[in-house]
Amino acid sequence: MNTVSDTNTETTLLNDIVLVAENRDTRALTRLFDHYAPRIRSFCLAAQPGANLMADDIAQEVMIRLWNKAHLYNPSSASLNTWVFTIARNARIDYMRKNGRYQSDIDPESFWSEMVDENADPFREAQQQRDQDRIREGLMKLPNDQRQVLSKVYLEGKSHSEASEDLGLPLGTVKSRVRLALNKLSIFIKR
């Protein structure tokens, strides 16, 4: 995790999403693919180890959504990484729903939103950047056991109780590790 090169990469990716939105630039899309597709695949394989077909399908689906929705992306409502993460998460939920894990007549499209927040302003963008920097640095300093639980929850898509089964830890321990981590990263602001 090198913060300087991260920032450079992020600037390039941000330019590329604008090129896709404004010029339908396919070369910019390939660069976005080179960066994001391997991450989307890993994200899917974390939830379903060995499911390479699913990982390929979802990676492609997410890239198509980026192509079709690039003009809706608003940097003051979310960073590009956050936007792509929420799209990948939604695509994974969708895929699992259609393939039986969640049988439901509720359509997650209508509410697990990709946060196109119309009210976002430039002030928010600066706040967002600060949050992101703090979370990124905080993650590097997090004890392994807390980081491991966060990966279970976010990358493997496990609920707290599924994570506790996987790790052979009491549910209370999992919950308190998540809470400790969220506190250290100042994610939960007391109301």
């Binding site: 509720i106 976010y154 990358l155 602001i189």
Partner: protein
């Protein structure tokens, strides 16, 4: 200022995508009305994005190349992206949280309400086989909801009006999560009827001598006791 919110655990599961769809729907309808929780969620999503962005990636080069080739072929067939503006919202739907509009397409009055008592009506929004039940409850101004206990977790989100119970007063946008030990008797405030979204893991059990007769009805409509497609 709202007083009752989803727990941090629940928001985390919402952000990571592991919350069941019926619960996520309840959380989302609260988020539509709560800027505080939207901020928490924004930070939780940023955390998810950081973990996502810094994963180990191991896909073989050749595989990615063929995936890329097939993507480029597909985007050639995509229609031009649609305009940004969403269609104007129907007047009847304005007071309904955006997340619920698809389930309540013609407003509250057009739903299929069942009268369980003269002052208490219920309309089913979704029955997920093996999952939770999503419904709206509608109680007349000043009326009590029949005394009941929960046989599982219950989420209540106030959509209009207000009600109170032993623990407090709940207003539009408030999100209340109760578990199976609670036995309570909510009462709607006198000024207006109260409509709530309720998400039930298991059928409500009514404990009053008369309303006990409703239990077979509640069970009949709960997905945990209904064969799928019923």
């Amino acid at each position: 200022m709202l007083c009752y919110h989803p727990s941090l655990d629940m928001l985390t599961d919402y952000s990571s995508g592991s919350l069941s769809l019926p619960h996520a729907l309840g959380v989302s309808a609260h988020l539509d009305q709560c800027a505080d929780c939207r901020e928490q969620l924004r930070r939780l999503n940023t955390l998810g994005a950081e973990l996502f962005a810094h994963q180990e990636t191991t896909a073989p080069e050749a595989k990615l190349d063929s995936l890329k080739a097939s993507l480029m072929e597909k985007i050639g067939q995509q229609p031009q992206p649609t305009e940004r503006r969403a269609p104007a919202v129907d007047e009847r739907l304005r007071s309904i949280p955006a997340s619920l509009r698809r389930l309540i397409p013609n407003g509250y009055d057009e739903l299929d309400w069942m009268s369980l008592t003269p002052s208490f009506k219920l309309a089913m929004l979704s029955n997920e086989p093996g999952g939770a039940q999503v419904a709206l409850s509608r109680i007349k101004a000043g009326a009590h909801m029949p005394t009941h206990t929960h046989t599982g977790n219950e989420i209540t989100l106030v959509l209009s009006g207000a009600f109170s119970d032993e623990d407090g007063v709940y207003r539009k946008g408030d999100f209340i999560c109760r578990n199976d030990d609670d036995k309570h008797r909510p009462r709607v405030t006198k000024d207006a009827e109260c409509i709530c979204l309720i998400v039930l893991d298991a059928p409500i059990e009514f404990t009053g001598w008369f309303t006990r007769l409703l239990n077979p009805i509640m069970r009949r409509f709960h997905p945990s006791t209904v064969p799928s497609n019923a």
